[in-house]
Each structure stands twice: as structure tokens, then as C-alpha cells.
């Protein structure tokens, strides 16, 4: 049976994940709400996950999929830390707008 990958073509997967990645990047660039910026980072990481899985299938090699698990775990840990920081920021200044964080400069 022809796999879904062969039907769609690896190139399209790459383009898709690149687009997803760019959407994430633009999200980070254009949104000022920290939560949404976290989500954008998640989108970027998931774009990579998608890419890894696609390549994994393409190469008929399981290690790519294993790597995805690592990535997901790491992303989870990252977001946990990020949210923790965000909470303490909220406690200190009462909002989570990233533009308020300009104490350190110069």
C-alpha cells in the first residue's frame, strides 16, 4: 500500500512545517501577551515534531519518532518553567504584557 507520505510527498511536509515554524516565529514577533508567545513557541516546536515524524517515515527509521518524545518532554518542561516565571511576574506587577518588562536595558 502506498503510504500517505508517498502520496503527499516529503517536500510538502517540509513546506508545511516550515510554514508552521514561521507562523510560530511571527507569533512571537507580533504578539505581546506572554501566554500567546508561549503558544507560538509551542507551535514552532510542534512544527519541528511534524518534520521529524515525516522524516522518520521517509527514512523508515524510528529514531526520529523517539526524538519527538524527547522534544515533547523538553517542551513541557520548558513551558512549565516559563509559566512559573510568568506567575511570579503576574504576582509582582499584575499583568503579563511583555512590553512592561523594560527595567533592564542600556
Amino acid at each position: 500500500m502506498q503510504s500517505i507520505l508517498e502520496q503527499v510527498g516529503i517536500g510538502n511536509y517540509i513546506i508545511l512545517s516550515a510554514l508552521l515554524f514561521c507562523i510560530g516565529a511571527f507569533g512571537i514577533l507580533y504578539r505581546r501577551n506572554a501566554i500567546i508567545m508561549f503558544m507560538s513557541i509551542e507551535i514552532m516546536l510542534n512544527a519541528v515534531n511534524l518534520l521529524l515524524v515525516a522524516f522518520s517515515t521517509y527514512h523508515q527509521d524510528a529514531s526520529g519518532q523517539v526524538f519527538v518524545f524527547f522534544t515533547m518532554a523538553v517542551a513541557a518542561a520548558e513551558v512549565a518553567v516559563g509559566l512559573a516565571i510568568l506567575v511570579s511576574i503576574y504576582r509582582n506587577i499584575g499583568n503579563i504584557d511583555i512590553d512592561n518588562l523594560k527595567n533592564l536595558k542600556g
Binding site: 514577533l29 511583555i98 523594560k102 533592564l104 536595558k105 542600556g106
Partner: protein, 625 residues
Amino acid sequence: MNTTSLIVLLFAPLIGFLINVFFGRKMSKNLSGVVGTASVLLSFVITLLLFFSVKQPITLHLSEWFSIGKLAVNFDFVFDQLSILWLLFVTGIGTLIHIYSISYMHDDENMYKFFAYLNLFIFFMITLVAGSNLLIMFIGWEGVGLCSYLLIGFWYKNQDYNDAAKKAFIMNRIGDLGFLIGIFILGFATNTLEFSGIQQAIDVDGVVSTSGWYSIAAFCLFVGACGKSAQLPLYTWLPDAMAGPTPVSALIHAATMVTAGIFMITRMNFLFDIAPIVQNIIAVVGVTTALVAASIGLVQNDIKKVLAYSTVSQLGLMFLALGLGAYQVAVFHVITHAFFKACLFLGSGSVIHALHGEQDMRKMGGLRGSMKITYITFLIATLAIAGLPPFAGFWSKDEILLTAFHENKVLWVLATIASIMTAFYMFRLLYLTFFNEFRGTEEQKKHLHESPSLITFPLIVLAVLSALGGLISLPFGNSWLNHYLMPIFAHKEHAEHHLGATEYGLMAFAVLGALIGIGIAYNLYMKKKEVPTSDEVQGLHKVLSNKYYIDEIYMAIIVTPIYGLASFSKNFIEKYISKSVFGLGNVVSVLSIQGKKVQNGNVGFYLFAFVFSISAFLIYLFLIR
């Protein structure tokens, strides 16, 4: 003569100097004077012995000094006719002036220093005269300049005197640079600085390169002589140098040091003989100096200034003789001049001493009565310098005029005018000082007195010498001096003049000229009893009173521009260099401050820069490359 005595001759004054420097303060004033005098006297005695015993030049090798490249310089001295002759009157007159100074400087708290410096001067003068190579001569040359500096500024509390001392030193240094360059040229061309070596080298290839480097060297040496012997354009220090105590003026600035230039040129006669162009320059410079200085001397009112200008003028005449190749004539005039000029200076010192430091002739007068010995000696010396026979000055000056007449009539005319002027201003001096009424204060008048015998003794000796000095080289053939100096000169064609009608006529003319000068002076200052006024003078007189404005001109064209350059350098160039170097630092600093604005604390901006840079790299690496 054995080496020991030569060494004693050389170093006795130095030892006198050292004793006075280190122990002078503890010794009594008289003792330091005696030590100083004795050390010079010792040299004089040995010189006398030398004079009578030496027929062949003696060389004395003390030690090596240094050698660079191919050039080796040693502490070598040579005692030949020329140096012995010079030593004789240097140490002789030196002794007299030391004796004179014991009394003259007796009231000065720093008398021991005075004798120390005088001794040091004699030492350097001996070095200058006896050195057997150019560099040893240069030691003496600079050394006497130093002593001159120290002695002009002896009363160092007066800054004007210090200025004069400094001026003397620097003017001399200008000449010294010329001297040095001359040394370089000769050293490089001949690989030796020994006089004998240079002479040999010139004998070998002198004819081939008559002009060229040897001429330039000769010119450079002449520049050195100009500085030391106060010739145009470097003479202005000498009148100022009268700031020093009068014995100094007599010894250094009349009798000995200022003749060093003549000594040097005489020493190097073999070099100047092959550089006729330079000889012409020397003659012209000499006669011009004689005229200029004499004309300034006409209107000076300071007794020592008059004598100073007369010295410059007489030196000019000597240079004229040198320029004409008549070295022995120049030497003759040096010697007679040393006698009468020392006598004049010491006499003026005696006058000044009596008047407690007054030097302005307008405030003198009538001293004939109270200062008999001073007056008589002064009169003899004045007659000598004015060129009246049979006094020494007549014979030597006449020989110069004679030589000039034979070589170049224009020079002769100018030189004659200068001597007429000399006769005039010297008698002006004499009349103003010793004749008519006393014009000073009553206080001074009460204290007028003849000077003590320590002062009058040298005056008498010098007056006798001024009167009889001409005997050493009478023009009637068989001149002892010419004969004595014969071995020194390479070219002997100027040896003697045959006395014919022309010569006797010239002599008569010279005497007549002198009498004219004296007559005018008599007319003005004895008959009309004029006293120069301090009021504003006009026209030529004003120019002369202001010494042709030469000091002012030097100030305007040399000193002021240098100071201007200094200010310009300090305020502009230095700052500009500094700014341009550290301006870079400021630019960086400004960049740093501006850069802080980029680091604005905004994460959004940081991320934007991040993404932008990624894009830039990717575009560069994958599209542009």
C-alpha cells in the same frame, strides 16, 4: 721641558678652581684670591720657561678620549710657537687681572667663586690654545664660553645680567654649531681631527679640491669664530656682556677669549689658505664689523659699552687681516690689543670702583685730579688704541692698514674710517671721564680717591706694555714676531712689507687720521664742553644710539618667531595632535552612548533583530553567495 711641568702648566688653574670651589667658602677672601692668582702665576712662569727653551713643538699625550668609526680623538696637546705665544699673554694678563681682582672684588660675598670661575676660565683657555686637535680645542672653546656665561651672570640676583649671560652663551652656541659642522666635514674628509693630520691631508689633496668641502669647512669654522670673536652678525652679545664685573670684561671680553676666533683661524691657516672665497668673506665681514661697531661706539654713554664696541671694532680689524692672509699681523694686533684694551678696561674698572659702580660717563668728569695713576695709564692706552706712534697700537694697526692697502683699496678706506672713528670715541671717552668738572653727586665727590696699589700695579704694567708692545714687530724689517711665528704658517708670502715711500706716506696718513679724530673730540668735548644729553636724539644719531636696532631686529625676526612657534605648537599643534589621536576614543565613546539606545530592553525588538539576522544569514549563504 719635561712632561710634569707641562701638566702643571695645564692643570694648575684647574686645581686653583677646585680649591676655591670646595674650600673657598671656608677660606678668607684674600687667601682665595691668592690661591687663584698663584695658580695662574704658576702657569705663567712655566710658560715663560717654555718660551725661552722651546724651539721645536712639544706634544703631550695625556690619554685617549674616544673613538667613533674611523675617528679617534685623544687628549693631546701641542706646545708650539703659536700656542706658547698665546699662552704667554693669556696667563700673563690673566695673572695681572687676578691681582687686580683681589682688590676689586674684595667687597663681594662670593669672591671665592669669582676666583674659581676665573681660574676655570684660564684652564679652558689653556686647553683651547694648547689642544692639538679640533675637539680638544672645542672643549676649551665651549669651556671659555661657559666661564663667560658664569662670569657675566656673576651677580645673578640681577635678571638683566642673567639675560646678558644667557645671550652670550647662546650667541656663542650658534657659532659653535658652525664649528661643529666644520669639525664633521674635516673629520669625515680626513679621518682625523689632529691639526697636523688635517694639514697633511690638505697638503696631499688640497690642490685638487681647493674649493668644495674644504671651503665649506673653512666657512663653518669661520662662523664659529664669528660667534666667539663677536663679528657680524653675532656680535651683539659682547656689549651686553659688560654686565659682568670689570676684570672679567678686561680678561675675557677684551684680551683673551674673544681672540679665540683669531687663534683658531690662525691655527687652521693652511685650511683658510686654500679657501680664498672664505678669506674674502672674512675680510669683508671683518671690515664691516669694524665700521659698524666703531660707529655705534661714537655715541655710547656707558664707559664699558664704549670699550666693548671698540673691542668689537678692533676684532673686526684683526679679522680683516686674517681675511687678507696676514695672520702674523692679526696676531700682532691681538697682542697689542690685549695690552691696551686690558689696560683700558682695568682703568675704567678703577674709575667705576672709585665712583661706587657708576658707569655713565655723563656723570663723571674731572677725575684727572684725584686719580693720577689711573689717568696716566688710561691716557697711554688710549693713545695706543687711537694709533699714535710710538705706542703699540700704532704699529699693529698700521700693519693691518698697510696690508689692506696692498690688497684692496676699498677695504683700506673703510678700515681707515674705522680707525678715525676709534680715535674720536676713545678721546671722547677720555675727555668725558677725566677732564672738565665732576658731574656726579656730592656724595661721590667726597669719596673720590685713587685706587689701591693692587689695582694700580696691573694698570702700570699694562700701560708699559701698551707703550712698548710694538717693539715685537716693528715694520723696519727683521720683525721678531714674524720670525718667531714662521714655522706656523704654510704660506709665507705675506711675511714682510718693504717700506717704501707709499708705506711711510700711509703711516703718516694714519697718524693724521687719528689726529683728526682726536681733534674733533677735543673740539666737542674740551672746547665746547659738551655733555651728551639723554634727551631724544634725532636722525643718524638716533639710529646709532639704538645700535642700528640690531637687537630689535633679531628680536623681531628670530626670537619672537620662535616664541610664536612655541605658542602655536603648544596651543594648536599639540592640541590638534592630541585631539586627532584621542578623537578616535571620543568617537568610540559616543558610539557607546548611542549604542545603549539600541539595547532598549524590549524583548520584541530583540527577537526582531534575531529573526532579521537569521534571514540575513540565510539570504547571504544560500542566495547571494
